[in-house]
């Protein structure tokens, strides 16, 4: 099975976020970057499928020069080759623009399966994967935890709300957006990094791909959420505190 995994490089979890002077974006100068976690799970799912049934895993990612480090990480983890869509102005592009880039790069590969994380950890739009499916004319399923190959195509397990799961079947080719936590992520190894050096990493620019890049959504301003502290400490004996807690859960939080 030929699988394409679309990954995104996002700010590392531990990196301090500062708003840039123009308030239009964050200050990227001292940022550390990491692979978007749901995408890491998508890659893991692809690698597991490859290990089980054979095939090829191709990674595709859009972004400036720095994105190459995340692509190399994906190659080190076991992807066979990669396509880097070089574009310096990723943040100017909305989900549709990015999806057009990805779709243009993926289409000539004619994959059996396209995987991506269900959303990015930075913008959290959750749209890109689904739009790619639409652009490529593929059936899709979202929030997938587990994928299995069957004779008619794929059997997938989706996560629904309140602890419910849904099992569905769909034909290939298809696109799935993967939820975090379905598998255990593998760690990058020294051997993987060394082997990755010899793997193909092709670059393509937006004009080369011929993707339309006029954004339909513009970003006006970003701001830090206002801090609200509403911690209450319930004093008294355990029993008194418990009664007070239940009372507040009923009247203030309205969850009981």
């Amino acid at each position: 099975m030929k699988i394409v995994v679309a990954i995104k490089q996002v700010p590392g979890r531990d990196t301090p976020l500062r708003i840039a002077e123009n308030s239009r974006w964050i200050d990227e100068s001292e940022m550390q970057w990491a692979m978007n976690e749901p995408d890491a799970y998508a890659l893991e799912e692809a690698l597991l499928l490859k290990e089980r049934d054979g095939g090829e895993v191709i990674v595709v990612s859009a972004g400036p020069e720095r994105v190459a480090s995340t692509i190399r990480e994906a190659l080190a983890l076991g992807a066979d080759r990669a396509i880097h869509i070089v574009c310096e102005d990723l943040r100017r592009r909305d989900a549709l623009c990015v999806a057009r880039l990805l779709a243009a790069a993926i289409k000539p590969e004619k994959p059996d399966l396209v995987l991506t994380g269900l959303q990015s950890e930075d913008l959290g739009l959750g749209q890109t994967g689904v739009i790619v499916a639409e652009l490529l004319g593929l059936p899709h399923a979202t929030m997938v935890l587990h994928v299995e190959r069957i004779d008619s195509g794929l059997s997938v397990k989706r996560e629904l709300e309140e602890g419910w799961f849904q099992s569905i079947e769909l034909p290939t080719p298809a696109l799935l957006t993967i939820q975090s936590g379905g598998n255990k992520l593998r760690y990058a190894t020294l051997m993987g990094i060394k082997r990755a050096r010899t793997k193909e990493l092709r670059t393509a620019s937006a004009p080369e791909l011929g993707a339309e890049d006029a954004p339909t959504v513009g970003l006006d301003q970003i701001s830090v959420p206002k801090k609200q502290k509403s911690t209450q400490i319930l004093r008294g004996t355990a029993k008194e505190a418990a009664i007070a807690l239940v009372e507040r859960l009923k009247t203030e939080a309205r969850v009981l």
Partner: protein
């Protein structure tokens, strides 16, 4: 003449032609048997890979180790005085007998160079006789120990050891008996032949058994890498650690064949003593078994039939085994090497281990907490930021920056530093030193962390570091060398003991007893034993645990194991905490935030009766004005 009173060795004066022929034939046979065993072993050692980073010079340290450990047998005696002394006299007798034996064999061809009647010869033979008596007694003692007392470290009773003891005993007796017979009689002839036959029988047995150590271990001790628990660099792009036989280096193979199976390593191993699979002795013997079966160029994985992956990952890298080993085996680099082989190739699959690696790939600390939390701690306590003007960079470490008890230690140290007017500052972008991943064998993440930290230190012009964590200190000082030149670094116990005379703690009344636990990475790894003790002794009445100083028993956290599970057997921390509590001390003194966290959990079981747990920084801060 005085020599007239000395006993004289009876040596046959004449050997017939057939005796010479028989001796020559037997000697050739014996040597052939000897070589048949030894040849393949030497072949395996010499065909092994070159040791990356090995340097013979400076040679002074090697000569010193050789004299101390081999010639003086100091390590053997110190650890087990009685058995050690018995072993030492056997060894010294062997040395004394080198000339005697040469002369003995030369005599058959009329080429003897020591004349039993001459002054020098007589003197030397008598000198050797004294050793022979001691050796006979020594080997008898060792025989009794091995076959009657049978300490469990020695493993199953082996008939080979019995045979060897018998042969050595026979060699001594046949030598000594020759002082009581006439040189001209048949008796001298019979004794000469009895001695000779024993000798020729002994020779081929040596390389066949663990007694090979008597030839190899002096070389092993001399050539050992030296730096305690030092992890060697990887040779090249295709070196991922000890994956298969082809990765075994000459030193490792030499060490594998040098093991004498005395079991000192397992006697002191925290894993082995608490019911884990790991036995350092079996790791070494496993490599020997592997070499005998597959050889040093094999692609067969090392972790498999002869060594278990589980065992390799139960090691806390406390180094008790390496410290005790009398034949120069460096267990820690071997065990870490096996882990490197498994981790660098992705063969090790462990949920907690993988989580630690991912945490450190993505974040800055091993605990997986956001660095914003660290910033809050730094800001809330107004810790000054290091800007290049202060004397010390106070390295917080993961425990000092994120762990609540670790923070208490840091704040106590800060209080002391402020009182002493020692200038210091902390870094904003400090990352884990890489200690846990280094010891678990993840070279990739270790390199990333070391390089990122070097960059931060350079930007901030750090020249001197002080840290509350012996693991940070060791990793910065030694392990980072692979990627740059680390700044000067010391453990807070060193700084505190230097300034102790200026602290009010020493004037306080001492009522309660304190027992100090030596952290492995401060004691065995850094040789710091007295500095933290001086602080502890200033604060309380210092008592010692049964195992202390070089023999200290690990808390169980080292080697990255603090981040893995300890599912099998008893927890090392509980075994050690019980031992510390049993001293009756009301305070357990520590000097490592990892030991602290391990004992904190272990002492909870004791409830209210548990001794208080305090770091030496907290002790040093006693009596300081608020």
């Amino acid at each position: 003449m005085m020599t007239a009173f000395l006993p004289t060795l009876a040596e046959p004066q004449q050997f017939s032609g057939w005796e010479r022929l028989l001796f020559a034939e037997l000697a050739v046979l014996s040597l052939a048997g000897f070589w048949k065993q030894l040849g393949p072993i030497l072949g395996n050692i010499l065909q092994s890979k070159k040791d990356p980073g090995f340097r013979l010079f400076p040679i002074g340290r090697r000569v010193r180790d050789f004299v101390w450990e081999v010639l003086l047998q100091a390590k053997v005696i110190r650890e087990r005085p009685l058995a050690g002394l018995a072993h030492a006299v056997v060894f010294w007798a062997f040395c004394a007998f080198a000339l005697v034996t040469l002369n003995h064999c030369a005599a058959v061809f009329g080429l003897g160079f020591l004349d039993p009647a001459g002054l020098v010869g007589r003197f030397y033979f008598d000198f050797a006789a004294v050793f022979a008596v001691a050796c006979a007694a020594g080997i008898f003692g060792l025989f009794v120990r091995r076959f009657v007392a049978r300490p469990k470290w020695l493993g199953e009773v082996s008939w080979e050891s019995g045979l060897i003891a018998l042969l050595i005993f026979a060699l001594m007796v046949t030598y000594l008996a020759a002082f009581f017979v006439a040189a001209s009689g048949t008796a001298a002839q019979v004794l000469w032949w009895a001695h000779t036959l024993t000798l020729l029988a002994f020779l081929p047995v040596i390389p066949h058994t663990k007694h090979l150590h008597l030839m190899l271990s002096p070389i092993t001790v001399f050539l050992s890498r030296g730096g305690f628990g030092e992890i060697p660099p990887l040779a090249d792009d295709e070196d991922f650690g000890l994956v298969a036989g082809k990765d075994l280096t000459k030193l490792i193979s030499l060490q594998a064949y040098s093991c004498v199976e005395c079991g000192r390593c397992m006697e002191h191993c925290p894993a082995n003593n608490t019911g884990k699979l790991l036995n350092p002795k079996e790791i070494v013997l496993g490599l020997r078994g592997y070499l005998n079966a597959y050889g040093p160029t094999s692609e067969e994985p090392l972790l498999g039939k002869y060594n278990a992956q589980e065992a390799a990952f139960e090691c806390t890298t406390c180094g008790a085994c390496e410290y005790q080993c009398p034949v120069g085996i460096e267990h820690v680099p071997i065990i870490v090497g096996l882990r490197r082989g498994a981790v660098n190739t992705g063969a090790w699959e462990d949920q907690r281990g993988a989580r630690l690696f991912l945490t450190l790939e993505r974040g800055a600390n091993a605990l997986g907490i956001s660095s914003a939390d660290r910033d809050k701690f730094v800001d809330k306590n107004s810790l000054p930021l290091f800007d290049g003007t202060q004397e010390y960079c106070l390295w917080l470490g993961c425990m000092g920056a994120y762990d609540p008890r670790g923070r208490e230690i840091v704040l106590a140290l800060v209080k002391v530093l402020r009182y002493l007017k020692v200038s210091f500052g902390v870094l904003r972008k400090e990352r884990c030193t890489g200690d846990p991943v280094r010891r678990l064998g993840n070279d990739l993440v270790f390199q990333q962390l070391a390089e990122a930290n070097f960059e931060t230190l350079k930007q901030n012009r750090v020249t001197k570091i002080v840290s509350i964590c012996p693991h940070c200190v060791r990793t910065i000082q030694e392990d980072w060398k692979a990627y740059g030149t680390p700044p000067e670094v010391e453990h807070h116990s060193e700084l505190l003991s230097r300034h102790l005379h200026r602290l009010p703690v020493q004037n306080l009344e001492k009522k309660e007893k304190i027992v100090f636990h030596d952290p492995c990475y401060l004691g065995r790894y850094r040789g710091i034993y007295e500095e933290p003790r001086s602080v502890a002794a200033a604060a309380r009445d210092l008592v010692e645990a049964p195992r202390s100083h070089e023999r200290s028993f690990c808390c169980g956290a080292g080697g990255g194991l603090a981040f893995l599970g300890e599912e099998k057997g008893q927890r090392a921390s509980q075994a050690r905490a019980a031992e510390l509590a049993a001293t009756g001390a009301s305070v357990v003194g520590t000097a490592c935030p990892f030991c602290n966290t391990m004992f904190r959990d272990a002492l909870v079981e004791k409830g209210d009766g548990a001794p208080e747990l305090l770091d030496i920084a907290q002790l040093a801060a006693r009596g300081l004005p608020e």
